[in-house]
């Protein structure tokens, strides 16, 4: 029988190894799997490459993971926001590497990784410093830059509803990078606010089919990052 539910966040992240590439869903706090990130902090793998649109805020969730010093490199499009201090400080002091990728190229690279596409061409970033060192090529009289597909060892995602097959539904704009990261990771761990019986999700409405999900953790009342930040909470 296929049952992807797991008992704890610790179980979910227990095999994340030193040097792993970990995709973490979310756009800002929306769709950020904060409890799974905290479990990863407790688990303590080092030398991680983390893929996320941002770098977290305050001293919880992704920012807290970066603060541990276990993140060697961030791949993201927008590493600073109103309440992000952790990454900027580490970056300025040369303690963390940054691969800056336009947001759409980041999304498409992740999708390509999941789709078996090692490289594709895009007009985005042509003629800018972000295309430097990348192969440029003409198609039909226009210039494009080659971007590589991006894969991960693990993906941590947050969703609204799941079943034991790993089918997932998301909530509004908290969907963002989560579904494509599920496709690009070797092992995907999803935290969900609800688990329903098989058939409880209409097959017409499934956003992430279960084939892309390995572990499902029920977390009925996930923390809200901005509230933790406003309360001045730090993790651990």
């Amino acid at each position: 029988m296929i049952d992807k539910t797991i008992a704890s966040a610790a179980d979910g992240v227990s095999d994340i190894f030193d040097g792993s590439t970990v995709m973490i869903g979310g756009f800002g706090e929306a769709g950020s799997p904060i409890e799974l990130i905290h479990a990863l902090i407790d688990h303590g793998a080092s030398g991680l490459t983390v893929v996320n649109n941002n770098t977290g805020s305050g001293h919880v969730g992704l920012a807290a993971l970066i603060e541990t010093g276990n993140v060697r490199k961030m791949i993201c499009s927008y590493p600073r926001t109103a309440n992000s201090m952790v990454f900027p400080d580490l970056y300025r002091s040369g303690k963390i590497e940054l691969e800056l990728v336009p947001q759409g190229s980041l999304a498409e690279r992740i999708r390509a990784g999941g789709a078996g596409i090692p490289a594709f061409y895009t007009q985005t970033s042509v003629g800018t410093v972000l295309s430097e060192g990348k192969e440029e090529r003409e198609f039909d009289g226009k210039t494009f830059v080659m971007e590589r597909g991006l894969k991960a060892d693990f993906a941590l995602v947050k969703c609204r509803c799941a079943d034991r097959f790993g089918n997932l539904l998301f909530n509004k704009t908290a969907r963002n990078f989560n579904p494509i990261m599920c496709t690009a990771a070797n092992i995907t761990i999803a935290q969900t606010e609800q688990i329903v019986e098989l058939g409880g999700i209409d097959p017409e409405h499934v956003v992430t089919p279960g084939i892309f999900v390995d572990r499902v953790l029920l977390l009925e009342n996930p923390a809200q990052e901005s509230k933790l930040v406003a309360e001045g909470i730090t993790y651990p």
């Binding site: 756009f27 800002g28 590493p79 947001q103 759409g104 800018t128 704009t173 963002n176």
Partner: protein, 217 residues
Amino acid sequence: MNPQGWTREQMAQRAALDIPDGSYVNLGIGIPEMVVQFVPEGREFIYQTENGLLGMGPDPQPGHEDPDLINAGKKPVTAIPGAAFFHHADSFVMIRGGHIDICVLGAMQVSASGDLANWSTGASDAIPAVGGAMDLVAGVKTIFVITQHQTKNGEPKIVEHCTCPLTGKGVVDRIFTNLAVIDVTSEGLAVRDLAPGISFDYVQERTPVSLKLDIKK
């Protein structure tokens, strides 16, 4: 004569006037976000936000903010009837595939040939952050820029060549400043409109690039 020309709100309103009925529009952070308040009578625009929503509505009522319903600037928004949610790859299919009609962006500098710099000062201690700006200028059919005509220090923002790192080359179609509306054309910059009480010479004096007065009424 008001030497400041249009206010921020008036600049946003002026830009909205140039958006055709039925357009699919993406709004950048800052003054462009205000465009959403000024849909001209009788028109319907559909706003896309690149974090996964087509059909972005007005700001939520206080107390009705939803942390899972935000725009690209991570501010709470609403969704109109007929909206759609989707993931980031699908969102950028819209943007990079040429499906968005108009994008309204802020600017640090715009060059005479329509180069845009709006993501990085290039300062050595800055944390570089690009977001979706390069995707938008590469993929959206028409790029509007809303910007003060000069910096707070009186430096020009419309320049011969950008000195800040580029977001895209030759991408800007129309510039809305506090003083004028200026088109980037193959024959150079053409002033299409002037703020009330602002003269063409006044604008030209504040612009280190030769302008042409070509108002089509």
